[in-house]
Symmetry: D2
Subunit: 252 residues, 4 copies
Amino acid sequence: MPPGHVAVNVRAASLNMHDVWTLRGVGIRAEQFPMILGMDGAGVTDDGREVVIHAVIPSPGWRGDETLDPRRSMLTESYQGTFADRVVVPEANVLPKPAALSFSEAACMGTAWLTAYRMLFVKSGLRPGQTMLVQGASGGVPTALVQLGRAAGLQVWVTGRSEAKRALALELGAHAAFESGARLPDRVDGVFDSVGRQTWSHSLRALKPGGVLVTCGATTGDATAGELQRVFFCSCASWVRPWARAANWPTC
Amino acid sequence: MPPGHVAVNVRAASLNMHDVWTLRGVGIRAEQFPMILGMDGAGVTDDGREVVIHAVIPSPGWRGDETLDPRRSMLTESYQGTFADRVVVPEANVLPKPAALSFSEAACMGTAWLTAYRMLFVKSGLRPGQTMLVQGASGGVPTALVQLGRAAGLQVWVTGRSEAKRALALELGAHAAFESGARLPDRVDGVFDSVGRQTWSHSLRALKPGGVLVTCGATTGDATAGELQRVFFCSCASWVRPWARAANWPTC
Amino acid sequence: MPPGHVAVNVRAASLNMHDVWTLRGVGIRAEQFPMILGMDGAGVTDDGREVVIHAVIPSPGWRGDETLDPRRSMLTESYQGTFADRVVVPEANVLPKPAALSFSEAACMGTAWLTAYRMLFVKSGLRPGQTMLVQGASGGVPTALVQLGRAAGLQVWVTGRSEAKRALALELGAHAAFESGARLPDRVDGVFDSVGRQTWSHSLRALKPGGVLVTCGATTGDATAGELQRVFFCSCASWVRPWARAANWPTC
Amino acid sequence: MPPGHVAVNVRAASLNMHDVWTLRGVGIRAEQFPMILGMDGAGVTDDGREVVIHAVIPSPGWRGDETLDPRRSMLTESYQGTFADRVVVPEANVLPKPAALSFSEAACMGTAWLTAYRMLFVKSGLRPGQTMLVQGASGGVPTALVQLGRAAGLQVWVTGRSEAKRALALELGAHAAFESGARLPDRVDGVFDSVGRQTWSHSLRALKPGGVLVTCGATTGDATAGELQRVFFCSCASWVRPWARAANWPTC
């Protein structure tokens, strides 16, 4: 085990869209195989600490925000992933598991929830009492956004393509759910769009003057014609489902 | 004259791209004519004050940033413009002309320079010592950006389509000038793009991770396929050449 | 009635510490009398609109944040107050009463709650999940802070001088209540101090590195020796119980 | 040499007030001796790189801003200092020396200049064209502030206790120099105070409504009665001459 690293005996791991992209061969090169998938997980260290794993690993000597390190890595990129009995990561990449969370719950608190947290609480600048629109009702980032937004005192609206998805969002705390592309009762203070092509136009039309649109990728493809992936890339350093970078790049 | 208004005897006025768009019939409806053009100007009030005119006029009772007022107006939209002997504006829309500026100079300090100021000093978050790229070397906003950036201690790079334009930028203070679309020596901290379709892709590729792209419109058309005008619109409340709204919408 | 003004038939008004100070002769000069007290209230306009009154009134022509206007006024300073059947204010100083609030509730949403709102959501930069300490458990600003912080997903700690005050804070949503000056279980991310002399030292000791202290005045006197009132003054433009200005002055 | 560390052959070192405090026994305990003084320096690594040394060293595994690490160290605290032929620091604490700077110049770019840089460009929020007041005209932080402020397009005013000090400030680029405590021609947008007791009151009186006061310590003692050192401490994690923490704590 390299110095400064720790082994975690995995008790639970969770699946991200990023893993599916990797399976499809996106964002990985042949010479990186064999690669164990799984970015997120929770478990127990050999000395008995219950921990959650953080998937983003800066290069040696990097200081500051690791998501801005051009040479940063992630589990399943150069480090082996969490779909295993044991996973080895730098000591700084394990954090104490909150006692109130089960291992399964904690294993879901990684990529999707951190992305949602950063979009909402670091990037958007929204305040309690304002209205946020979440495009998509059932994905990892959208469901995290709904729950975080509700807990933070925001008015939460979602769009979903099916009644089942919209019902899920309402159950998770959304105040209102609309069909995708629906005309909304009012303009909103912020939009959170991880969908891309299918929703981008609707997202922009939904905003008040001075509103904020925060994106973290485009699961349905680029919004228009190939450039917006670069928007995401340059501010996110990742092509799909990144670590919650927003359209407001300044403090990325 | 309406209460709270003041008449200015115009000594100098300046021409904006906005006026050209208006002449082409963009952003104005037939029932608004006759309309005197000219958004910017400087002159003398009847009581002898030397003043500069500010072109953005909020609706009655509006408080806060007037550029976010959905019902705000501008000279040449509902108010008659500055290409006239006298122009009448609300008292709050005249400001003392700095003694160091001639009337001609002061008349240029409006739309283009305020846009550039806001892009650079309010929206970008760039700091002295960082590198900024200005797309375009000879327009109103780009030439203002070059001069403001140089005066503020930034490293200023520009792109220009002709040698004459690039020479102008260097004369105005740019540290380096490149052909449009050229590969740059290094990635930059911020890009200022008022060009749109022709430069958008280059702008995004030029940024460091965490860099900022600030846009104020798209003089060559939408970057990709019609949506980015909405980006500008929603954050700018104006279709072309707005009051310096940035890609970082949160505080627009 | 001056142009641009509106009369409100008062249905409910609320009492602020500011009124008590005025009664004691603080912050008012003899030539301002007679003066009806009462900064906050709610009522009905002659044309039937149910409204809440906003107490801060900028000088004519002022644009931007009215609390930074050096010539701004407030109800009970140059405008007559709300402890009356009718009160006349600029049209921009009445806002629609939310239907969910009674007149009595709405009449309390003014000075104290706006101060608390601004301290917490505009100035502090705290995020959901962080811990805030409120010095004082029963005053107008502290009780508003407790309720706003709880609704916004923060961990809320308060200090109170008596068991009854601490019980009130817990009832309003505080997660924990401590005796004034007590050693806390952990350092906090932010402290909200409207008390001054009696709590200032404790407030500073309670903070994590990088934590934030937000103050809006000093009901028990200056923290140390007369200077901190200036801190408040320069950032608040008011001597006591101001409009929620924080120790972080930059964006005041 | 510990892993991840590098030895620098010192070519130049500079003296900070911090070293003088250490000599006086302030901020250091007997068991830390022997301790070589000197926080700042520049030199050449064994493999021939010309480097500047950064004095703040986070604890192992710390991520993010090292000045907020409660267990961070500095040269002369647990690491031996630069007043030596060779100094050993973590690899991340050496940065390439800019070719345009001599070793002597580069050796001065550490503590004082980084403090000034952070006060002005990270904490103050001031913009080019605004007016800043620097309390003190000849110390390390004040002289750096004057030069940085001038290069960044600000209007720079200083106060100094002697004509010689004021002449130095003017020579370094200040637009105006005043006697300590003098009434200024106008209120300023920001004040930079590293003096403390002797200037604090004047600093607060000098500010416009909404202005910002940034402090990094108190070389003449606490402003009032012992508490303000805590202000500095909690936001600076250092008792004297810290790494430029401001009165605006939120993002410290």
